[in-house]
Symmetry: C2
Subunit: 692 residues, 2 copies
């Protein structure tokens, strides 16, 4: 499943650890996640005989959408109807569920407009404009090093965002592309009133479950429909995708417009080694253990099972995604190619005296900084509470750090508390989504145990946190003693500002205060001694590449809107050919009746009414990655032919490089979506809105 | 904890996958796990001014003992008293416990001789003689390749063992040393009537728990006493260690006589890469997930907690041990040294035409076979049921395969069912140790889920095993339907032979039959196409080393008796010096009152009576590894000065190479043992037997 893997990126994300570097060396064939201001029209024409016009591109851009939490989506009607994956909306579906109504299990359909229910934490963004602000950022950071450079960059970005973001329904992000080669300002329309319209049963949305995840052939109806509201009314959308009458055919040109989260195609060898030997295996072992305890936690009872489903889903998804990446990096052929590529470019640089002087030391500087990162990586994660896994701690941290940051001028704050970022912060902080104390205790116990394990029981920070408590005793005391599950209290504290938070006797708030100095100190160390070295050196390498190898490249993914082109195409795996299209029929053949291969009753009942030869899921050569979940797949007439929800297992190596022979995006075909909506779910309101 | 890590080696062990290769290149300083027939007396004398005599060595050998399940031990009285670690006897302590009497929690002491209770599954071995059978084995395999070679080797080994093992109380193992450079016949006295005499509370035996495991400084009383019985009476032991009056001093020469399980100091670079990139990370992720679910399983209730303690302990121990190994292998300096060492030796070989012709291709052959292993590794593990984790499946497999094998002549059987191996097989099969069905279901569910995950739901084997069942449904049906928890039934079936087993309607027996053809086929594939290539090539490399670099080396560890010399010595870690001795006092300082840092009541009560300055645990330079747990540590007068129970975290890299600067064995000091036995446990019978 291709939502942005925040779970595995979290310690990085909190630090804006920009691991993706720069420009692909040679964007060939269907490779590439192209920014809308730099779509290789000629290349598309040469390969597929179709050249997108500017008007075409503009319509595709404005019909695309992003779920700020980590997914992609599209507008599919003039009444603000938004299509995305089931797994992209599943947090909402879970949050709206209760002991009596389990919408994850049973699905959801608002038969009447007034049945549409607001999702507590979904924010939809629509990209409206891209502005180049490279010169302004470069001017602000010119000649600076280390901490000074970092501060200047944060300040200028916060200022630019704030100038642009004149009302809360705008969102303006300064995006670093080509790892510093370009800085662009992305202007979005921001929608926070987003309501659930339709979601099928998880049994078919995620048919095959974890065993089939990242696999193909596939038989999943991973779809949900949301609706964007403005001023309490469905949005009148000017731009939206049509719906293909014919669906996608084998070999047909397909576009994907979505938000790939991050790729690392330009990491140096030292950084790749760090990923292979340290970061990925550690993260995988962590996730494996979380997966183990959550699976068993589900035995505590049906409610505990329901409460923990969503976290377990995310954990398993990350685990499988990262396993694929790890396998790609331990593949000797790929790694040796990376080494050869770097050596060849370093040789080129060495032969050019001017380049040698400027860039020659960049690789060693990155290697050194990576080594430094290795020595502080555990403190970096744990001192900031990034592994604690508790929502209530998360609230407390936002309250403690956020209200303190708000006392500073906008441009001096942590970027996540800049004025431009506040609407997203408060949407989550004030969310009415339920918090499950029993699950919170289990997760926090695990997080504290892991902290002690990673840092050792004699670490001063560990001693300060645990005192004479066991992790379980401390977790129980904090969760049971805290009132932060109550959104009203959180809103009061936030609005009361630093003074109110400081005065709080809530034990979780006090815990967040206890570790705040350590959290800030380690972050400061990282941001002043490691991050700027990597940023600056990567930028130098990137600029040298620009100068020496030309400009027809795409930047590493940054969870910003990208266009990818490709075609419906099968591939060879373990000596046999995999057909690019499955049919509805196949789902019935594959079903065993046992989880996760049990079809929902609605499907079994409707079987006789279905056209079983209808295409179901399909594989295409589009270059996608985590974050592309929910992306529209469409033809040259801007009509939906599919809904991206996954990549095959070979696509996971796409983190480091694209191999058109085997890397495949996986989508639900448009005809299957329509067939199911009509004949299984009788979701007539939805069907009627889709423009065919 | 240093027992042999069967848990992580299991898939290997079942296949006699001999990963350890050959001779260390340069055994310097205190490095070396020396076989008793090749102790470097002169080197010890040169370094420590003491030269062991043959009589001294013979006495040390005969006073040493092995627990066949994976630990070391020693005779410490003339009445068959055996000292080992608590964690080496903990399976027995758990098996003897009931809902009413939890000896893991409360400890055990047989105040009267008749209170000593037999351990269901402990076998003690005492090495009495070593015979060189290299010529005979070489003659049997001369000129053979592939499967023929493997069969010939198995046959000649089984025949030699059987000739030697004339009565069930003898045990004769043909041991492959220097990876085929030598084959030695190890003659043991076998004792299966072994009774529990004393065990302290787990809270002090494993004080500090998993966080302190493989750490130093340390404060553990990881000891237990067993007694070997012969003909229903305590064994009259002729040879046993005395007890030091003074204990060990900083800098003092210390010997360790024990059974290191396996080292891999002579793997080729291709094999090390396989360990680093495939075998270790996969095993670690597996163990991490097991750890996760077992930790949470303990929440099901106090009995479930008690039942699963032992498995959780073993899992965490393996996880930490393998993590250390993985870290060692991902250390660039170590790995580059391994690469350089191999390249240098290959260069030498290439310069000698004769050697080049014979050995030149060995490294590539190993690399190719390792690549082949990679392609079948998952089938190899799962088709044989090696990851299922169910004791009841284990019984069924032994019944199905064992009774079938017994129909063949001794020399054609799988080695684990050769006549020489049968006493150990039946001891475990007929064991009265309890089986916990609820835990069995949880473990089998996990094992089946993992099988489906690793092989994929479309694998024909997976389809055959699961059919339309979920893993949980199948596991529940098999465990609840099977009667194999009953040792009487298992004995009946075994004694009824193949016909009785074939006729059984027990679902677990039928399940073992179902997968038996696949288990045999994949094993045959491995043993005919991969193992012989590695064996033969490793042997060639080893012989070339012998010829080119002399003979003053020690073989990789093979769970056979080894002598190691060293001294009590501190070390530097993260910039500070670690003192080699702790005191009883330190345990009280370290105690927080919360698990795993809570001292047992017996210690708190006795505190005022203790001499708190008594040395507690200590670090020495002896070269040890998993399997050395329970080894006696003694001085030149053959008096016990300590009891090895662990190594520091740096010692885990000892799998691949020994670094005297930081690699340390960790032992309980003899004075602490005595102080605790006397003043805390009042174990007067034990104290009186120790010869001081």
């Amino acid at each position: 499943m291709l939502e942005v893997d925040w779970l595995s990126r979290r310690p990085m994300r909190a630090l804006s650890l920009c691991l993706g570097l720069f420009v692909a060396t040679l964007a060939l064939a269907d490779e590439g996640m192209w920014t809308y201001d730099n779509v290789p029209k000629a290349r598309i024409k040469a390969r597929y005989g179709f050249e997108p016009t500017d008007a075409w591109l503009r319509k595709a851009m404005l019909s695309s959408a992003r779920l700020a939490g980590g997914c992609s989506a599209s507008f599919v009607s003039g009444s603000g109807l938004v299509m995305t994956n089931h797994h992209c909306a599943r947090s909402c579906v879970q949050q709206l569920s209760t002991q009596e109504h389990d919408f994850i299990k049973n699905g959801f359909y608002a038969a009447k407009p007034e049945d549409e229910v607001r999702c507590p934490e979904i924010e939809v963004n629509q990209l409206t404009q891209i502005t180049d602000v490279t010169d302004r950022v470069n001017k602000a950071t010119a000649g600076l090093e280390g901490e000074a450079r970092k501060k200047a960059e944060v300040a200028v970005k916060s200022t630019i965002s704030k100038e642009c973001q004149t009302t809360p329904d705008l969102r303006c992000d300064v995006v670093t592309l080509y790892h510093g080669g370009q800085y662009h300002l992305y202007h979005y329309k921001r929608y926070q009133d987003v309501r659930l319209v339709f979601a099928p049963e998880e049994a078919i949305a995620f048919f095959g479950g974890d065993p089939d995840n990242f696999m193909f052939p596939r038989y999943d109806l991973d779809v949900s429909f949301l609706r964007v509201y403005e001023n309490g009314k469905p949005l009148k959308a000017e731009h939206y995708f049509g719906w293909s009458k014919t669906g996608a055919k084998d070999g047909e040109l397909t576009f994907v417009s979505g938000h790939p989260g991050a790729t690392e195609r330009q990491l140096t060898v030292a950084q790749l080694e760090y990923q292979r030997d340290v970061a990925l295996p550690e993260r995988l072992m962590f996730l494996a253990q979380v997966r183990g305890y959550l699976t068993e936690y589900q035995h505590r009872g049906p409610e505990q099972k329901r409460h923990s489903n969503d976290v377990l889903f995310g954990t398993e998804n990350s685990y499988k995604a990262l396993s694929g990446r790890f396998q790609a990096l331990t593949d000797k052929t790929l790694f040796q190619a990376k080494v050869a590529e770097e050596n060849s470019f370093r040789d080129k640089v060495a032969q050019d005296p001017a380049q040698k002087q400027t860039v020659g030391g960049a690789w060693d500087a990155i290697a050194k900084a990576t080594q430094d990162l290795k020595t502080i990586r555990k403190q970096l994660a744990h001192y900031q509470g990034a592994m604690l896994g508790s929502k209530m701690f998360g609230f407390a941290k936002v309250l403690v750090q956020g209200t303190a940051e708000l006392q500073k001028p906008n441009e001096q704050r942590y970027p996540e508390f800049s004025d431009a970022a506040l609407p997203e912060v408060t949407q989550r902080l004030f969310s009415k989504a339920p918090v499950y104390p029993e699950l919170e205790i289990a997760r926090l116990t695990f997080g504290l145990t892991k902290m002690r394990e990673d840092l050792g029981p004699d670490d001063p920070f560990v001693k300060k946190v645990l005192g004479t408590d066991s992790p379980e005793a401390l977790a129980t005391r904090l969760i049971n003693g805290s009132k932060l599950a109550d959104p009203v209290l959180r809103e009061q504290l936030w609005k009361g500002g630093a003074a109110a938070v400081k005065a709080s006797t809530d034990p979780m708030v006090q815990f967040a205060f206890l570790i705040d100095p350590d959290a800030r100190a380690i972050r400061q160390k990282y941001e002043s001694t490691i991050e700027p070295v990597i940023t600056k050196s990567s930028e130098l390498i990137a600029r040298a590449r620009f100068q020496m190898e030309g400009t027809s490249h795409y930047p590493d993914a940054t969870f910003t809107l990208r266009l990818s082109f490709g075609q419906v195409r099968g591939y060879d795996e373990s000596g046999h050919h995999v057909n690019p299209l499955t049919t509805l029929d196949g789902a019935f053949t594959r079903a065993t009746g046992s989880f996760p291969f049990a079809l929902p009753d609605s499907w079994l009942k409707a079987k006789s009414s279905l056209t079983l030869g209808t295409p179901f899921d399909m594989a295409t050569t589009n270059d996608i990655i985590g974050g592309n979940s929910g992306s529209p797949m469409f033809n040259k007439d801007l009509e939906i032919t599919g809904l991206v929800f996954d990549g095959n297992i070979e696509s996971l190596g796409g983190e480091y490089g694209f191999d058109e022979n085997v890397n495949r995006a996986v989508a639900v075909e448009s005809a299957a979506l329509l067939e199911a909506l009509k004949k299984i779910y009788h979701a007539d309101r939805v069907v009627k809105e889709l423009k065919r």
